[in-house]
């Protein structure tokens, strides 16, 4: 047990070794396909995101984001279709209202708002997807590891 803890501590404290882990929610119709295109086109982007495919950015409940932060993810990225392009017509518009309030509240509660990022990327924008993932990774890396939520028991 002790050995384990010290090992994780070491990993956390060693800034050179630390790589941000970002949970990315990508919508099935645009961003997931955009990520696919980035891959097929062999565009390089940081391997720090772990992708969860969701049907629509409107599927994103704030619970997902809060839970990700509490579970120790260093950052969260949510990506959906551009406004007006949603496969379900208005899912991303509904989501956008939620995201605005979520971001303001995070800032108010003292959590760095840069940990949680929202973006639009269509299925044809592999390059944009890569650029924005690079940007997110940079933002989160600057903030360092997410140490605010450490469950004691």
């Amino acid at each position: 047990m002790n050995e384990n803890t010290s090992e994780t501590e070491q990993l956390k404290n060693n800034d050179d070794e630390w790589e941000p882990k970002i949970l990315a929610f990508l919508c099935n119709w645009c961003s997931y396909a955009g990520a696919d295109l980035a891959g097929v086109s062999r565009i390089q982007y940081p391997p720090n995101i772990r992708v969860v495919r969701v049907p629509c950015s409107g599927r994103i409940n704030p619970y997902f984001i809060v839970k990700a932060l509490i579970d120790g993810w260093d950052g969260v990225l949510v990506s959906g279709c551009h406004p007006g392009d949603c496969h379900y017509l208005t899912g991303n518009l509904v989501a956008r209202r939620r995201f605005g309030i979520l971001k303001d509240l995070l800032e108010f509660f003292g959590i760095e708002p840069d940990r949680v990022n929202f973006m639009w990327a269509s299925a044809a924008e592999g390059e944009r997807f890569a650029v924005l993932v690079r940007k997110t990774t940079k933002l989160v890396r600057k903030l360092g590891p997410n140490k605010k939520f450490e469950k004691k028991w």
Partner: protein, 337 residues
Amino acid sequence: MGDIESENQDIGNKIKGLAKNLLKEKEVDVIIGYTKGTVPLSASPVFITREEDVDKLLWNNLCYINLANYLAPRIPTLYDDEGQKLKVGIVAKGCVGRALIHLAVEKQIEIENIKMIGISCNGIINRKRIEKEIGEREILEMSILGNNIIVKGRDFEETFPFDEYMNELCKVCKVKSPPNVDGSCVGECLENPVIENDFNDISDFESKTSEEKWAYIKDTLSSCTRCYACREVCPMCYCNLCFVDQNKPIWFGKTTDFTDIFAFHFNRSMHLAGRCVSCGACSSVCPMGIDLNLITRKLEKIVKVRYNFTSGLDKETVPPMMSFSLDDNQEFMLEED
């Protein structure tokens, strides 16, 4: 108008007069109001159906409970013997009125069956602050004398100025009387209220760095025992199954570890965005004296600034979280440089 003491008398008499009238004219079947509390520093809700009981109604500055909670859908609608819905009269300060209207907007109650007895609220006492200052001594009696709050115990008597010991939300309140919607209000009501708010009261907190904010939030919230009194007293928290009680899936832990406390309060705030009517009941009932007013106020500001909406003022405007627009502001979205 004189001091708080005589204002309370006036308001109390007005309530009694209007209530008597409504019952006599058979406009309502039951009146929900406030009566003397069973413990000091509180007022109890009371249901009155007979004219002769009207004298039980009163107004003091401890009527912190939002009576709209008694009409929220998790409490069964009141029916008479023939199965007809009862008409309900309700003593309404500004925030009770706002809560009722917002519940009507969310289609949870029928405003036609409700008659608000509008009063001009003169502020609620911040009982948690007084309790804190009295400390471990036992409060036996509280009264209002002139513009002062007199708190008596076995061998002490303390005086607090009312203006200062008012609830923080009441100090900045702009809706003292319920807005009149579809003629559902008698007594003192607001017609087409438009409220201007500068939110100066939270600018101090907002100017802090995120580390300071986090330290403050952590310090304040960590005493939470997860008793859910804030949720139970909230007129907007009417879900049949709250997300923290759900066990399929278990979204958040049920412990009093800070992460779980944070999850509860953060998500509750998210749920109340654009719905909270700033009645301050949650802070007033918190057994640990957590000041939730700050969060409440911020929610009001976020919704006002982003979507130019204030909850519970009229029945027509669709709340921001129930609608969307193609031209919403999206300055927070990530963009290429």
